[in-house]
């Protein structure tokens, strides 16, 4: 935001996203109830006069705070159930909704390195990167929420001779971890490496070094005995045991193994709708029936999230189950997590139950896990501080299956 003109334009754009509702019916109902409430208020006033000090009365679900009409406005907001679609249900605190999925853990490791959660490995284990400096991974660790201890999987290796060396996105299948790195040769040419290590620990192995056009790797996944990645053009596969990579598919991008979509991540794609979900193992193709006016649709096997008239949107791949997400802002380019959960800002919506969980965050930031597949982790500081000693973590992999 740089100018007041931009603010004015953004406000007008926001206005365009306003819902369309039958105002007249709502207003008539309100006026009818207000008339009735005024009659009740006479009785309530009499009670207050007798009680003397009482300022709050709960009566048949109507909260009267002695503040006159404004109080009635709030009361009616609570009292009146709207014809809400599932996603409009007010969010409840995440500690209440999924107590088994929220825990507190240290924000730094034994060396004082800052943890950056990657994703949940299981209901009780979280894969972490420990960073001695910003975005420089020094170690991979696993935090166990039962024993409340972290163990080191491996120290991160680096390759001599490469500059601007960064460990990029990691993925895990519960048995191994794989990640790719960014780097540049002295002449400035791009180099990408793919590494893997067993989750149980050990020495990382360099699987492949990619240069030139092959270096445009975007995302990575583990698929049994193979590592799989997609670049701007295609999906590739390489045996963990070593060998040559082979092309799996053209024009697709891995979401979470074995599923891929037709949208590349990157500039210019934020508003585009994904059109299909493809199973890279079986070849099954599911066409996506986008809701009218949908933008930025991102789908797993069953569920999609996106935007519609600037509000959040959820729908099934087949076009059913459309609902406006109650958060006005949904992050672009976000695939549903575990083909079930949709992240808003400060909220997570569960498509399986229609429940929204709210993160009551004391600070001003929250983080999302950085795995290649949609991360199950959401985390924030336990205190207001920008450098908290502990994180509060939501691991969606620990949310029980819907009944």
């Amino acid at each position: 935001m740089t100018t007041e003109d931009e603010l004015a334009r953004a406000l007008r754009q926001l206005a365009e996203a306003a819902p369309e509702i039958d105002l007249l019916a709502g207003v008539r109902e309100r006026r009818r109830r207000r008339t009735r409430r005024r009659a009740q208020a006479v009785a309530v006033a009499a009670v207050i006069a007798v009680a003397g000090t009482s300022t709050t009365l709960t009566r048949g679900g109507v909260l009267a705070t002695g503040g006159g009409h404004d109080a009635a406005a709030t009361a009616s907001a609570v009292e009146e159930p709207r014809a809400a679609k599932p996603a409009d249900t007010p969010a409840r605190p995440v500690d209440e909704v999924w107590p088994q999925a929220v825990f507190t853990m240290p924000a730094r490791n034994a060396d004082g390195w800052k943890y950056r959660p990657i994703t949940g490995i299981s209901a009780t284990e979280v894969l972490l990167s420990a960073e001695p400096s910003f975005e420089k991974a020094g170690a991979l660790e696993v935090y166990d929420t039962v024993t409340r201890k972290a163990r080191v999987v491996t120290r991160m290796p680096s390759t001599p001779g490469l500059k601007e060396y960064i460990h990029q996105t990691a993925t895990t299948d519960g048995k191994s971890v794989a990640w790719f790195t960014y780097g540049e040769r002295q002449d400035g040419s791009m180099v990408r490496e793919i590494w893997t290590v067993p989750l149980s620990g050990g020495e990382p192995r360099l699987l492949v070094t990619l240069t030139g056009e092959r270096a445009r790797i975007a995302t990575i996944a583990l698929a049994g005995e193979h590592v799989v990645w997609s670049d701007e053009r295609a999906v590739w596969r390489l045996p963990l045991a070593g060998g040559e990579e082979t092309k799996l598919a053209d024009g697709l991008h891995v979401i979470a193994w074995p599923w891929a979509g037709d949208l590349a991540e990157g500039p210019g794609t934020a508003d585009a709708n994904q059109t299909r979900v493809v199973n890279l193992e079986t070849g099954e193709i599911r066409r996506i029936a986008a809701a009218p006016g949908a933008e930025g649709l991102r789908c797993g096997v069953t569920w999609c999230s996106g935007r519609q008239r600037h509000a959040g949107l959820v729908q099934r791949v087949d076009g059913s189950g459309q609902a406006a997400f109650r958060e006005a802002m949904t992050p672009p380019d976000a695939y549903p997590v575990l083909d079930r959960f949709v992240r808003g800002r400060g909220e997570v919506y569960d498509t399986a139950t229609g429940v929204s969980a709210r993160v009551d965050n004391p600070g001003t930031w929250s983080g999302v896990g950085v795995s290649a597949e949609p991360s199950t982790i959401l985390y924030w500081g336990t205190t207001r501080s920008g450098k908290p000693h502990e994180y509060r973590v939501l691991n969606l992999a620990a949310v029980p299956a819907a009944q």
Binding site: M1, T2, E4, E6, L7, A8, A10, L11, Q13, L14, A15, A17, A18, P19, E20, L23, L24, G26, V27, R30, R31, R34, T65, G67, H69, D70, A71, A73, T74, S76, A77, R82, D88, P90, A91, A270, H310, A311, A324, R326, A328, M329, P331, P332, D333, A334, R345, G346, R358, V359, N361, P362, G363, T364, W365, S366, G367, V368, V370, W380
Partner: protein, 158 residues
């Protein structure tokens, strides 16, 4: 005397614009619908008087902004902290980010910005609507603009 017909006509004619105003003020659909319906219900009660003497739409808009600020104070609304993803993956700095930042403003500051930049009201009129001094309007606006700019810088520096 039955005033229902021209009240209904007013709601039909101006309802959508009022909803948009409610949405800009509150930032979410539930509160927008709530604000408009409550303000219109009050206008309905006062319709014979307001229609003749005053500007009905002005009455509704003033009621809405006051309801919004007061309701917020009592409810201690939960969504004061609109979390901004720390992850650099959502690197599209556009209106959605600005809306998220607007959500982080206290409702009075947000209301001042909406009245000034969406409603195009002069500061002395804003002062009237909110029942505060013109100096307060200016200082609240300055603080809100500052916050938006600071939030912006922090995001981009990440």
């Amino acid at each position: 005397m039955d005033h229902t017909a021209d009240f209904d006509e007013f709601v039909r004619a101006r309802g959508d614009a009022l909803l948009r105003y409610g949405y800009v003020l509150s930032g979410n659909m539930e509160d927008a619908a709530d604000l408009v319906q409550e303000a219109l219900a009050r206008l309905g009660d006062a319709w014979p008087r307001v229609r003749r003497k005053d500007d009905p739409e002005g009455y509704v808009r003033t009621t809405m902004v006051r309801l919004h600020i007061n309701a917020w104070r009592r409810r201690h609304r939960e969504d004061l902290v609109a979390a901004v993803p720390e992850n650099g993956r959502f690197d599209r700095y556009d209106d959605a980010d600005l809306w998220a930042e607007l959500r982080q403003l206290p409702p009075r500051q947000r209301a001042v910005l909406v009245l000034r930049y969406y409603e195009d009201l002069p500061d002395d009129r804003i002062a009237e609507v909110l029942g505060v001094s013109r100096g307060t309007v200016r200082s609240q606006a300055a603080r809100a603009l500052d916050k938006l700019r600071i939030a912006r810088v922090l995001q981009e520096a990440r």
